[in-house]
Point group: C2
């Protein structure tokens, strides 16, 4: 099944545009899990168990597994094993390197861990992205306009009357011969999201910045979706997985995910009927 088919099925099956970000910072895991053989993995297992009918995707921020040392590699394997096969999995590493190195990163992410998708940085250009778009079953989400304050430093620089992130968007559209490229656009920039969506009407958009980063959910849903109300993956990480610091973290994560899923679907109803 191609990535886009799998995404379509996942979004319809769970009636959800919600992507849950497993940014599992070990220092924030409830104390009661500390005695577990692998607290990070057990935390993820319980979060997934509590939310797997509510999300279209899970995104693993690789930094939080690398920082766990040797065990982190195995945690990624085991966490992916807990995610239902029909749900999209995204490796969020924002990798970008010359061809032979990018191939190594793609191999780890797609062949070893078996993620469906990966985030990649555009700065080094096409040969840094090619290894991630070899198969239509795998998607590369290219950073276009990110949600952080530093997005102002370069991404808005004007090139021929258009901001750099629109050049990235246009290039990405040109490279999308296998229909397996997506873009990352932060929810903290709703007007720009609208422009990007207009440029790439059929591309999946991974949208971080809701929750802790205070992006605008109404505009995100309105502008991030395609014409039929799909193809936006709205990511929430800390706002769900660390909704409670106590032993009720699974139940509270579920409460938070239900709330956000409902908010998203209410807004979808308003704009997409």
């Amino acid at each position: 099944m191609t990535f886009k088919e799998k995404l379509g099925h996942a979004q319809k099956r769970n009636n959800s545009l919600l992507c849950i970000g497993l940014d599992t910072d070990i220092s924030k895991i409830p104390r009661s899990l500390k005695g577990h053989k692998n607290p990070q993995q057990e935390f993820n297992r319980q979060i997934i168990e509590a939310t797997k009918d509510l999300a279209c995707a899970y995104k693993l921020n690789l930094a939080f597994y690398e920082s766990a040392g040797e065990q982190g590699y195995e945690t990624i394997h085991e966490t992916l094993g807990c995610i239902p096969a029909e749900i999209i999995t995204i490796a969020d590493g924002k990798r970008g390197d010359i061809g032979n190195t990018a191939e190594q990163y793609a191999k780890i992410i797609f062949d070893d861990w078996k993620f469906d998708a990966a985030t990649v940085s555009p700065y080094m250009g096409k040969d840094s992205i090619d290894p991630f778009i070899k198969s239509e079953d795998h998607c590369a989400f290219i950073l276009a306009l990110t949600s952080n304050p530093g997005s102002r430093d370069f991404q808005y620089l004007e090139v021929n009357g258009r901001p750099l992130y629109e050049h990235v968007t246009a290039k990405a559209a040109g490279w999308n011969l296998q229909n397996n490229i997506g873009l990352v656009v932060g929810a903290t920039h709703p007007e720009e999201l609208k422009r990007v969506r207009a440029m790439v009407p059929g591309m999946p958009l991974l949208i971080p910045g809701i929750g802790t980063q205070k992006g605008d959910l109404d505009a995100t849903v309105q502008y991030g979706c395609d014409k039929t109300g799909y193809l936006a993956l709205i990511n929430v990480s800390r706002g769900i997985i660390f909704a409670s610091a106590g032993d009720d973290f699974g139940a509270k994560a579920r409460e938070s995910a239900v709330k956000i899923q409902n908010e998203i679907n209410t807004i979808r109803g308003k704009y997409f009927g």
Copy 2:
């Protein structure tokens, strides 16, 4: 000791601008090491043993250790343990992510593994780089103009009459309050290297692209060095570590490193007296 002091000492001590890239692709390691408990680590140990008086720095390309799975994390630790304390160590991961994630990457690289420096991607701006420049003992080499073909896709886009990589250079110079930022500029672009060096006369430049990628060594030394013939780190990876695919890989790596070091120093003599 600050990063720049350590770099100065290392370059003078070994009379070398050579940075050896440990892009240790497991599939290219000589057969005779395959029976070893950790072939990748043993390969690195022997390469370092054979070349440690010839280099000012070793650069570990993190992709090749991540792709080794769990063992890769330990291999990085052990490889760093083989490098003499006075030689610079660089984690080449080209990371770039929002603040709290970038902090995780910086923690792994500087606190856990204890590298001296890291390569970082500029696309996400200042808050993605800040965690890497907290201490003057650590250096962040920001990608400016990379050596690969894809460098043409975005890095040359003209912004206010100047290419994007010069904007990155100018921003990096402005952020360099602790004298601990460097830039990556590919040897495949000698004229551009000259311009970057003129913009940042006192900044370390990490210069890949000699060897397999066929950059121009004469121009790299002439334009990459500061006025006194230092501060360029000229990286060679595959051309040294895979100089032989046989059991003589250590001796051949040494031969290759001696040859390149001599070539660099002959050119330095010509331009810097």
